[in-house]
Structure formats: C-alpha cells, structure tokens
Amino acid sequence: MNNQPKLECNGLTVKDLVTTGIFSAIFFIFTMFGGVFFAVNPVLTFYMPMGSALLCGPIYLLLVAKVHKRWSITILGVIMGIVWFVTGMHWAFSLGYISMGIIADMTAGFGHYKCKKLNMLSYMLISLGGIFTYLIFFIDPEGWAGAMLKNGTEQSYIDAMHTASPSWLPIVMIVGTLFVAAFSAWVGGNMLRKQFEKAGITV
C-alpha cells in the first residue's frame, strides 16, 4: 500500500483516513461504555473521565501504531467533539476533546509517533478531554449550573453535585484521570507488544 498516491497535499493516505474512522468508532463506543455508569450518578459523575480513560488505551495506541502520521489524532479528537455535541452534551466536553486532540497529536509528534513513552503521554493528555466540563464547573459554579439547568438537568441533580464536590476534587480528578489513563496505556502497550506486533498488524 506504500505506493498509493497521496490525497491532496497532505501525508495522510485514504488507508490512514479509513483506519482513523474505524478506530474512532471503537474509541467512541468504549468511551461511552466506560463513562455511562458514572455520568448518570451525581456522586460519581466527577469520576466519569476516569471510567472513560480506563478502556480506550489499547485502541488509541494501536491507532497511533498503525497510522503514525500527523493529523490522525487531531481528526480523532475533532470527530469525538462533533459526535458528543450532536448527542447533546455540554459544549465544553466537545471543545475539550478537540483541543486535547490537537495537543496530544503534537505530543506524540515529538517522538515521530514511534516513541512509546510519548505515545503513552499523549493518550493521557487526550483522556483529559472529558474533564473540561467539570473544570468550568469549578471555575464558575453559578454560570455552569445555569447552563446545565437550561440544558434540562434538574436542580436537585446540581445540588447533589454541589454537595459531592469539595475543593480538592479537581486535583483528584486530573491526577486520577492521568493515572487511570497511564494504566490503560500500559496495558495497551503490553497488549500491542504481545499480540499485534508479532502478527504484523502495526507496520
């Protein structure tokens, strides 16, 4: 497939674009699956990014290993943003995924998408995409509650969230998400080495 003509001026071939699309689908399903049990419970809702980060590490690393070119992670982030917005999520959630996608892409790019440590770090960064909604909540609780109430979330849900959110929570959230993402990436890295590199999938 290496002698394929390039699409437009960019280095991404059609194969890379299709791969990105398919892995975005799996990424989306697993993010949803990991997050949904947390998101609906007011006490646990702050830990939702962790739940999402737990499942997607192997998928992300395989995507990077298969494509290893600039822009594919950005595309992943943008698609996540669009899809989450269309399903009616808070706008900061979408924006978080788009911006963290760009940052994660740059991070992995420093190692030319081959360095395992940097790939791991970039997965940790893209996992942070989910916490922006909650950070806005901590920066401006009143305005956030207003926006959410307009979105149709009930007042008592917000109240329950208020009582469940001491001031140390953002730190726990960020560190926890990073930690869970690192664990997931570690499992994913092992899986990649054990199962996929031998099978010649990652070339």
């Binding site: 497939m1 394929q4 003509p5 699409l7 437009e8 960019n10 991404l12 071939t13 059609v14 194969k15 674009l17 299709v18 791969t19 990105t20 699309g21 398919i22 892995f23 975005s24 689908a25 799996i26 989306f28 399903i29 998101a39 609906v40 419970n41 007011p42 809702t45 192997p58 998928i59 395989l62 298969k66 822009w71 595309i75 943008v78 698609i79 669009i82 899809v83 917005f85 269309v86 399903t87 009616g88 307009k150 979105n151 149709g152 979330t153 009930e154 008592s156 849900y157 329950a160 499992v187 899986m191 199962q195 996929f196 099978a199 999938i201």
Partner: protein, 239 residues
C-alpha cells in the same frame, strides 16, 4: 441505483439533515418543559415516518412515552436519595434521547455516497469527512463483532460477564480487545482498498447518481424545526 426505487413521501438532502440535527440539539438544550420535549420527540417521530422509518419511529415514540409517564410518576411520588438518582438519570435521558433518535433516523436514511456528495457541495475538508463517514458506518459492525466475540468466549469457557471480568481480568481483556481490534484493522485495510478502487482519490469533483438538491420538502422541514426551536426559546423567556 436503488436510491429512488422505493417511493417515499419525503426525501431530505443530507445538508438539511445536518441542519435539523443542529436545530434539534438547540431545541433540546432550550427545552422549557417536559411537554415540549415530548412534542419534539413526536415531531422527530413524524419525520421518521415520512422518511420511511415508521417502525423505528413508532418504537421511539412509545418508548419515550413510557419514560415520560414514569418521569411524571417518579417526580410526584418518590423522595430522598432514590428520587435524586432517578432525577439525574432521567435528566440526562430526556436531554439525549431526542438527539439520539434523530441521529438514528438520519444515519439510517442517508447513504454514504449521498453524504459524501453533499459534503463535497459545501466544500467540507475531505480529511474530516472520510473518517466521519467510515465511523458512522462502522458503529453497527462493532455490535455485530461483539456478539460473535461473546459466542467465541463462551466456547472457550471464558465468561463474557462482569463477574468473569472480576475473577479473570487478564484473559477477559485479551479476549475482548484482541479480536475486536484485529477485526478493525483488517476491516480498515479492506475498506480502504475498496474505496481506492472506487476512485475516492480522484481529485476531480465528486459526482453522484442521486441528484443532491434542496427542494420544497427540505425548506418546509427546516422551517418547522426552526419555528419549534423559536417557540421553545419564547416559552422559556415567558415562563
């Protein structure tokens, strides 16, 4: 080829569908009351029936009606923590359901070629559109793969349940991820070869057998949804 064979009362341009989706998200955000949301779902259901998805639309409306009744009952008769749990869950549900239902109708009635051709009309970047189209088509395949994987796991005496995950995490993770990702990367190779064979890399403007154009139906549906959204905003201001 088979696009216009079945006569449907309403055929919408993919561009209109995207606009409708946006209006639906905005309406769900602005929703001043539960009745308004119910009307929104009913409207989406009518749209689905007109687009030929009457079974899906009816199921959606009936299901939503049941949840609606349950919500009304829960709000009136429940108390304490249980009520809080349900309020949280139902709040999210009512916000997401209309958008999800409309997305389902849009995805199932839009052919990939129509979508790509319409996106070409509005000069959306190809690098974003191809992955998006592939992704939307691949999501149902994941469900299928998952069923096969579950069968295969049972055959090897690995329990595909939460309990199995707790007692035997390593092997369960391997059994779920490895086949799923193997299948995905095989599918990526095959799909891209198929797409190249069909000339996706052709630099000339894309042509499509089905003519993409905006018609009276598009204008009318958009007007209905826009009016509905504005009514919601007005009701919110008034109430």
């Amino acid at each position: 080829m088979m696009g216009q064979n079945q006569i449907l009362p309403l055929w919408l341009d993919p561009r209109t569908k995207i606009l409708l989706l946006l209006l639906c998200v905005l309406s769900a955000m602005a929703a001043p009351s539960l009745q308004y949301e119910f009307l929104l779902v009913a409207g989406i259901g009518i749209l689905g029936i007109l687009c030929g998805k009457w079974k899906y639309a009816l199921k959606g409306i009936v299901f939503y009606a049941m949840v609606y009744l349950f919500t009304v009952w829960a709000m009136n008769s429940m108390t304490g923590t249980l009520r809080n749990m349900f309020v949280a869950f139902l709040g999210l549900f009512h916000k997401v359901f209309p958008c999800g239902m409309l997305s389902g109708i849009v995805i199932s009635t839009t052919k990939v070629s129509e979508f790509l051709s319409a996106m070409n009309h509005i000069h959306a970047p190809k690098k974003l559109i191809i992955p998006l189209a592939v992704m939307l088509r691949y999501i149902p395949t994941i469900g299928e793969d998952w069923r096969y994987i579950k069968d295969a796991m049972r055959m090897r005496d690995v329990s595909p349940s939460f309990q199995g995950f707790i007692t035997n995490p390593g092997i369960t993770i391997d059994c779920v991820y490895v086949p799923l990702m193997m299948a995905a990367s095989k599918a990526a190779d095959e799909l891209s070869v198929a797409a190249v064979t069909r000339g996706i890399e052709n630099p000339n403007p894309r042509t499509c057998l089905i003519q993409i154009r905006l018609g009276a139906g598009d204008a009318f549906t958009t007007l209905c949804f826009a009016a509905f959204f504005l009514a919601g905003m007005y009701l919110k201001e008034a109430g």
